[in-house]
Subunit: 277 residues, 2 copies
């Protein structure tokens, strides 16, 4: 026993109920039922603590540690209220969903933000993504949105679970800081209209270039899904449809790449530059 | 026997020398010694054939096929001169480097382009990347370069093998069409200077924004490596150093994302828009 919490219980059995639960939490259904998700990896756990994500449990296996900073991180997590459990090398390998585990895996409560929770200034800047399918793309999109300084990301008609381990990972912790709301398209559309936020949708099927759209005022950029592009709903309900000019192969730009291009054109214009002629 | 080639020899043994060789070709050293590389997957094999990559051998396993178009692709490959080999489910699984094999894996000769092979018009547009480490990033960068319509990509002081299976895959076949040259930095610099191509390097350590640089004329955009950024050589030998403005976490933009942002600002300017004031 020490001052900040009970001494860790060491788990070596692959049949241990905690090990089994960690494996189950890879499944969306299990996560949703428990209202929990997994945060794996040194960088991710550190980011979660920085962003005040309340880690309930932190599993660690010194056999897998890559550096020397892990004990300090464990202390920090314990002081923030996490319960610590030491795992044997094999037990950790069973729980890890990574190719190369680094010996740290936490469990944290999920959260749900509503549209009304978004803090919007006088000139809102939002990214709306529709039915993104690949967790890696959603994570990359969150990183782009963070770098572009959006007020929030709205995921419409979500296919991918926001708390999928691969979203957590590919977002490099941005999931813990950028406001993300999951909602259905009709509610999002009503929310944007009410606040007089201009809706600019990207699609290959328009002559208008994204650089010619005025992206300076209250703005929501809407991106479609990988496979189907934008739905008829958003194509119809947008104020402007724009395309990104493409040389080369038709599929060279995926949705994550198209998103970052559009977001940074908005950043350019919003810093004072006009749209193109 | 049919008109276009010998009937396939079916391979079932995991000890078959061809199976063993395919596994070995995942290693760079083996690829370099043999002067060969692997093209795995329906989409990749189709793209390779479209782009006149001379497939020497095509291994296929009907047990893994996902659709109904594979026989036509096999015919096409045979007519283009590839030798066909049928593999059992298990033998193919051993050769595949994918999580979900789709039953097609080809072997093709590597190629080497020189700087002098680049076809440059009066207003060259080049991308130079330095020591990129992750094959996935290099593949994504090739896709961006293709979409932006560059005349070529120059990889300086290559760390990642251009013919790494993950570059082939993540480039979605762009590797087969975009001219890529591997060369050392000094030679690349001399090449650019000789042709009076403006060198614009991206780095966080400058007050100048990328949108303020004039990217309209003969241009080489230079990007550093994931871990170390741009080398002192390129920082010193560039005509202008520019940065991308970043909100949020310091590491939200990786090198592939920074590349696509910079390339598409160049595309914008080169279509007639001025740089920012």
């Amino acid at each position: 026993m020490d001052a900040v919490g009970p001494s860790p219980e060491k788990i070596t059995s692959l049949q241990n109920p905690r090990v089994k639960r960690l494996v189950k939490l890879r499944e969306r259904r299990e996560r949703d039922e428990a209202g929990l998700f997994l945060v794996e990896g040194y960088r991710e756990v550190r980011r979660a603590l920085e962003k005040q994500v309340r880690l309930q449990e932190l599993y660690y296996a010194p056999d897998w540690f890559l550096g020397g900073n892990e004990p300090a991180l464990l202390d920090q997590a314990r002081q923030a209220g996490a319960q610590l459990f030491e795992l044997s090398r094999d037990a950790f390998a069973k729980c890890s969903y990574r190719d190369r585990p680094d010996g740290l895996l936490a469990v944290a409560p999920q959260w749900r933000k509503q549209l009304a929770d978004l803090a919007l200034g006088p000139r809102p800047f939002l990214l709306v993504v529709e039915s993104i399918e690949k967790p890696g793309n959603l994570g990359t999109i969150l990183r782009s949105a963070d770098a572009a300084g959006v007020d929030g990301v709205i995921v419409c008609d979500a296919v991918t679970d926001l708390f999928n381990p691969n979203v957590v990972r590919s977002s490099t912790g941005v999931l813990f800081s950028v406001p993300v709301v999951v909602a259905d398209s009709a509610a999002v559309h009503a929310f944007l209209r009410e606040r007089r936020i201009r809706i600019v949708a990207t699609t290959p099927d328009t002559p208008d270039l994204y650089t010619g759209a005025d992206l300076r005022g209250p703005l929501a950029i809407v991106m479609g899904s990988e496979q189907y592009g934008l739905s008829a709903f958003w194509l119809r309900e947008s104020d402007q449809r724009v395309r990104i000019p493409m040389a080369g192969q038709a599929d060279s730009l995926n949705v994550a790449m198209a998103t970052i291009i559009t977001l940074f054109e908005a950043v350019r214009q919003r810093s004072g530059d006009p749209p193109s002629r």
